[in-house]
């Protein structure tokens, strides 16, 4: 493990094959410490597989990925306590109350003062009213906030988010984005965000990696992408890439 890594996440020629299909096809990138990066791409572009390899949940077929200098998944236990993840596709147990779920995960992550941390997050993410309700009885928006609280329990240095505001109403989604901005600003955490919400990406991210069919199609700041493609919004850029118009648009 690299004692003082220059990058928070580093992928080198990362490949993942599933039964002959190249889910991820030789991608490389470096995410600087304290940066917020968006991972964009249509369904099947390889975003989730890439995130899973970063988390150590999937072993790469070839190439390397490291987090805070620790190679994943081989050295994962050196960094898992400093990472966390939130996704609407991974649930918390429904038959436990929110408080029970959060306390279990706080202990798994070695949080020092569990009750105080839960109280702090409950206030910050407006969970107080349903802390003692079963998680399964919450609305999808409430569940998303609880999942976000779980992801922030250990004050992660590296936070991976998969569509963090999916299923939230615009007001709550905006509020969550504000919370993530504050979290990054106050902790200097590195955030990698997979999202289909281009407004969210434009607001939060200083870098955008666009994937298609397992490859990185483009990688730049939102401003430079907009300028290069001659578009007003990232959504238009995304559509250009998704529909194979990027080369002519970029030219």
């Amino acid at each position: 493990m690299d004692a003082s890594p220059a990058s928070a996440i580093k992928a080198e020629n990362l490949v993942k094959l599933y039964k002959g299909t190249r889910a991820v096809d030789g991608i490389s990138f470096n995410l600087a410490l304290g940066s917020i990066t968006a991972l964009l791409g249509g369904n099947g572009a390889g975003k989730t597989t890439t995130i899973a390899m970063i988390l150590g949940l999937v072993t790469p077929t070839a190439g390397r990925v490291s987090v805070l200098g620790a190679e994943m998944p081989r050295q994962r236990y050196q960094v898992l306590a400093r990472m966390n993840f939130e996704s609407p596709y991974v649930d918390l147990p429904t038959r436990l109350t929110v408080r029970q779920n959060l306390s279990v995960f706080a202990e798994l992550y070695g949080v020092a003062d569990v009750a105080a941390r839960i109280a702090e997050l409950a206030t910050a993410l407006d969970l107080t009213d349903f802390l003692d309700k079963w998680t399964g009885r919450l609305s999808s928006g409430q569940k998303t906030r609880v999942s976000l609280a779980k992801a922030l329990l250990n004050r992660p240095d590296v936070l991976l988010l998969d569509e963090p505001t999916a299923s939230l109403d615009p007001d709550t989604a905006d509020w969550v984005r504000g919370h993530l901005e504050n979290y990054r600003r106050s902790t200097g955490a590195t955030i990698l965000l997979a999202s289909h919400n281009m407004n969210e990406v434009e607001r939060l991210c200083e870098r955008v990696i666009i994937m298609k069919k397992g490859r990185i199609e483009d990688d730049d700041t939102p401003q430079r992408l907009l300028a290069r493609y001659g578009r007003e919004t990232l959504e238009e850029v995304f559509l250009d890439v998704a529909r194979g118009r990027q080369r002519e648009a970029a030219q």
Binding site: A81, M83, D91, L92, P93, R95, Q100, V104, F105, L108
Partner: protein
């Protein structure tokens, strides 16, 4: 050597305890079937005893076998069913990306399987005492040795089944319930090993529970505690547990390679 965190183990035990106590049907389910089975076999034994056969002279052999079989079966069920709850809840990825080590998860599952077994078996043994005058607890230290050997086997089978669940997702769900029944005829729960065809006896003697059930019959029928059988069972159990642990780790890494830890459905 990987450090084991008692805090993480305790957190997982608490997580499963919260789940267990959140639903009275779950608790009832733990007692219902063992109770029914014990009553059925208990009445059958009472009937056979009235006919003055061999079982009349060896009172309690059938009920003893039923109760010890339940230790074996419920021990594995508690171990594997607790794990499958993570898949039902779509929580497996959260667990696998946390700092929880596989060995800590396994220790938590062992602890919970003992808790579930206690909830399941203790009331049944008390009813057996009341209904049929069979006191399993009177076996004393022998009971502890029987229990230790059976629970070790149940954890080994549970580890293997959980590995299959990780690797194959909920498609392997049926094995949680049925795998142990493969051992039912082979480990001679209700009859002596000598009943089996000669060639099958080699298979039976390769399975640790066979020694326990033979030992139980020797104790109840002949009032002899066969320490030699228990020692052999323990040696086989150590080998079985080591093999099951290696298989579990291999299946876990195979699941990681095939992307099954994030999406643990069929």
């Amino acid at each position: 050597m990987m450090p084991i965190s008692p805090h993480r183990v305790a957190a997982m035990v608490r997580r499963y305890w919260y789940l267990l106590r959140s639903s009275w049907p779950r608790l009832l389910d733990l007692i219902y079937w063992p109770m029914l089975q014990m009553l059925m076999w208990g009445f059958l034994q009472s009937y056979v005893a009235q006919t003055g056969g061999m079982l009349a002279r060896a009172g309690g052999v059938l009920i003893g076998a039923v109760l010890l079989w339940d230790v074996l079966f419920r021990g594995q069920l508690g171990f594997s069913f607790t794990f499958i709850e993570e898949m039902y809840a779509r929580n497996l990825a959260n667990i696998m990306m946390s700092p929880l080590r596989p060995i800590e998860l396994v220790i938590a599952l062992m602890t919970v399987s003992i808790i579930r077994l206690a909830i399941s078996i203790i009331p049944v043994t008390l009813v057996a005492m009341w209904f049929f005058g069979f006191n399993l607890w009177s076996l004393g230290i022998a009971l502890a040795v029987f229990f230790a050997n059976l629970i070790l086997t149940s954890w080994s089978i549970g580890l293997f089944v959980n590995g299959l669940l990780l690797r194959n997702g909920l498609g392997a769900e049926g094995l949680v319930w049925t795998f142990m029944f493969l051992l039912l005829p082979l480990t001679c729960v209700y009859y002596p090993v000598s009943v089996l065809p000669h060639w099958l006896q080699y298979v039976a003697w390769a399975l640790p529970p066979t020694y326990v059930f033979e030992g139980m019959r020797a104790l109840i029928s002949d009032h002899v505690f066969r320490a030699d059988l228990m020692l052999q069972a323990f040696v086989f159990n150590v080998a079985l547990f080591a093999a099951a642990s290696l298989l579990f780790v291999w299946l876990l890494e195979s699941a990681r390679a095939h992307g099954k830890l994030l999406q643990s459905t069929e």
